[in-house]
């Protein structure tokens, strides 16, 4: 699972120059946490949407709102976790690199939580759409959403 999630994130934003932070996220299980967020949060959101929400007048924009709700929850959690993993880690080497402004780490890692936020947010939309197509097959009330 570690490798799977690492390959997703590192394919998108890996930078050899700042390997320390990516290695840290790999070793500390940060990738797994981030990956589970974009998988599990939309799963729970869409389960609630398709199986718990007993509102028979649902329209496509209700579905869209739900998509954004999942996006924002995933984004918020991702930002928080990425921040903690990077800036509150016990990894001395990483901490030293970040505190040494000549390494450029501080500038690079400061953008990482937001980058992961965007990646996870977009992934949550993609995954949520797939969940929707699967779950609507079994839903009794929201079977007609998104279309």
């Amino acid at each position: 699972m570690k490798d799977l999630f690492a390959s997703i994130y590192e394919n998108l934003i890996y930078n050899q120059q700042y390997d320390l932070v990516f290695q840290h996220l790999y070793d500390s299980g940060g990738y797994v946490k981030l990956g589970l967020i974009f998988l599990i949060v939309p799963l729970l959101c869409w389960l609630a949407f398709y199986f718990l929400w007993r509102f028979p007048y649902g329209k496509w924009w209700h579905w869209l709102i739900w998509l954004f709700v999942a996006f924002f929850i995933v984004s918020g959690l991702t930002y928080g976790i990425a921040n903690t993993e990077i800036f509150a880690s016990n990894n001395t080497a990483l901490n030293n690199a970040i505190s040494d402004s000549s390494t450029g780490y501080d500038n690079f890692v400061s953008t990482l939580p937001f980058t992961y936020l965007l990646i996870n947010g977009l992934l949550s939309i993609l995954v949520g759409f797939v969940y929707s197509l699967i779950m609507k097959q079994f839903s009794k009330i929201q079977i007609h959403l998104p279309f």
Binding site: P56, Y57, K59, K140, I141, I143, F147
Partner: protein, 494 residues
């Protein structure tokens, strides 16, 4: 063993009780004791009578709707057929066959009908004429028969005596089988019903020319006789002040010839003394369209009572009367005895919620809720609804379901406007439909949403789906969803 119940509705009251019974059947009431088919037979010379034609139209719609439901198990579950359908084994709906034809009443006056005009004024026949004049007034003799007997049973007894020779009556005899039963509805204070009841009973028990007479003469027969229960807005040819006197005389006659002779198994009496409701005066024809009355609903319950107790009948005539628990002029379910309240509360409330939904709730869900959508993408056909916009715009929906529902709502409304008032329901809007039962306000959501939720849950239910019979899904779905919601909210008396 499948049994049939033949119901003879005589005169305007007969038609109105049959209407009430049809409304109960539509709401899901069943006869029980294996009575799977009901054959209503209306006997009324007044072919243009408003009550008669309204009832025939209601029966037609009932049949048309029921024919489009696959194995109805709640609403419309009781089968209704005409004699013609039974004898010809056809499913063609023709409401004219609900009415027995009386020959010679269409354009004749009474004096033409009995041949009075053809008698000469010579000595010998003059005596005959004088004798007829003794029995019938000039007004009687000049009366047109196509508007009935205008409250004159002495005329009715002559004209109605011929209907037992009709083809319809012979077909009735031919279709009669072991286990079948007969119920007769009449009023005692008018013309057609008061005269027709003893005549019909006499023929059923004693006319050996009737096919299957041996079976018919020993068959269970019951009747309901209406004592005066309404008055008229003016006194003219029909004088409402004479209703009570006529009722007393006819009762005495019934007592001597029917009750003490044990000619009938059960005779139900119903009336409303000191009634204050006044119907628009009409001697007959299209103008005679009385408002529905609670006592007609009670009469329909007498038919259910008869079928329920059919296995415990004795050879001695049993007399039954109808009563309510509370002496009130404003009757609701809680004023009825518990057995009647249980019988009516569930079916009527469910059907009322269903008609109200289609009137006031459908706009919100049509094309939005999944139970009204048939074009959902990436979903198999067996999960698509059959009740889409096309269905609700179809001629069958508008001219059958909608038309019948309008009659039902009109029937409920008329009982509310009559005296005593029967009004178990509150006026509701789309926001408070579940406050519909008088004196019972449920907790939680009171709008149509719980009904729509249940409809969505039932959409994929195989037992309510049929591609061939168009109304199956609508009728069966609402039977189930209203049952579920009203039970959850404790709105049905159990």
């Amino acid at each position: 063993m499948a049994r049939k119940l033949y119901i003879f509705g005589i005169g305007g009251t007969g038609s109105r009780v049959l209407k009430a019974l049809t409304m109960l059947f539509a709401s899901g009431v069943k006869l029980g004791n294996d009575f799977d088919t009901v054959i209503p037979i209306i006997i009324d010379p007044d072919t243009s009578n408003g009550d008669l034609n309204r009832t025939k139209d209601i029966l037609r719609l009932y049949q048309e709707i029921r024919n489009q439901i696959e194995q109805p198990d709640d609403f419309y579950s009781q089968e209704i057929k005409t004699i013609n359908e039974l004898s010809n084994n056809t499913q063609v709906v023709n409401p004219d066959y609900f009415q027995f034809k009386l020959k010679g009443t269409d354009s004749n006056t009474f004096n033409q009908y009995i041949g009075f005009d053809s008698l000469y004024e010579e000595v010998k026949e003059k005596d005959d004429k004088s004798f007829v004049r003794l029995l019938y007034s000039e007004k009687n003799l000049k009366s047109n028969l196509d508007v009935g007997f205008k409250g004159n049973p002495n005329m009715g007894s002559i004209v109605l005596n011929q209907f037992t020779n009709s083809d319809d009556f012979i077909k009735f005899g031919q279709t009669f089988n072991d286990g079948d039963a007969i119920f007769i509805i009449n009023s005692i204070f008018g013309g057609t019903g008061a005269a027709g009841f003893p005549l019909l009973l006499k023929n059923l028990r004693g006319n050996d020319k009737l096919p299957k007479h041996a079976k018919i003469k020993d068959a269970p027969i019951a009747g309901i006789t209406y004592l005066p229960y309404f008055s008229l807005t003016k006194q003219d040819e029909i004088n409402a002040e004479s209703f009570e006197e006529k009722a007393k005389i006819a009762l005495d006659y019934y007592n001597r010839t029917i009750i003490t002779q044990n000619q009938i198994n059960t005779l139900y009496f119903i009336g409303n003394r000191g009634n204050t409701n006044h119907e628009e005066y009409a001697v007959g024809g299209q103008e005679q369209k009385n408002k529905a009355h609670f006592l007609e609903l009670a009469g329909a319950m007498a038919i259910l009572d008869f079928c329920k107790n059919i296995n415990s009948l004795t050879n001695t005539t049993q007399i039954k009367e109808f009563g309510i628990e509370n002496d009130t002029q404003n009757i609701s379910f809680s004023d009825l005895n518990i057995e009647n309240a249980k019988l009516l509360s569930g079916p009527l409330t469910k059907f009322k919620v269903y008609t109200e939904y289609l009137n006031k709730g459908l706009n919100k869900s049509l094309g939005v809720s999944r139970w009204t959508k048939s074009n959902i993408k990436l979903i198999s056909n067996n999960k698509q609804s059959l009740l889409d916009k096309n269905y609700f715009n179809s001629a069958e929906y508008k001219t059958q379901v909608k038309a019948f529902n309008n009659y039902f709502d009109e029937w409920i409304k008329e009982m509310k406007e009559n005296k005593p008032v029967f009004c178990p329901f509150e006026d509701i809007t789309a926001d408070n439909i579940l406050e519909i039962v008088k004196g019972n306000i449920p907790k939680g959501n009171k709008n149509f949403q719980p009904i729509d939720v249940q409809n969505c849950l039932f959409t994929e239910n195989v037992s309510i789906r049929s591609y061939e019979k168009k109304h199956t899904m609508l009728i069966k779905m609402f039977g189930k969803s209203t049952e579920k919601v009203l039970s959850q909210k404790n709105l049905i008396i159990r």
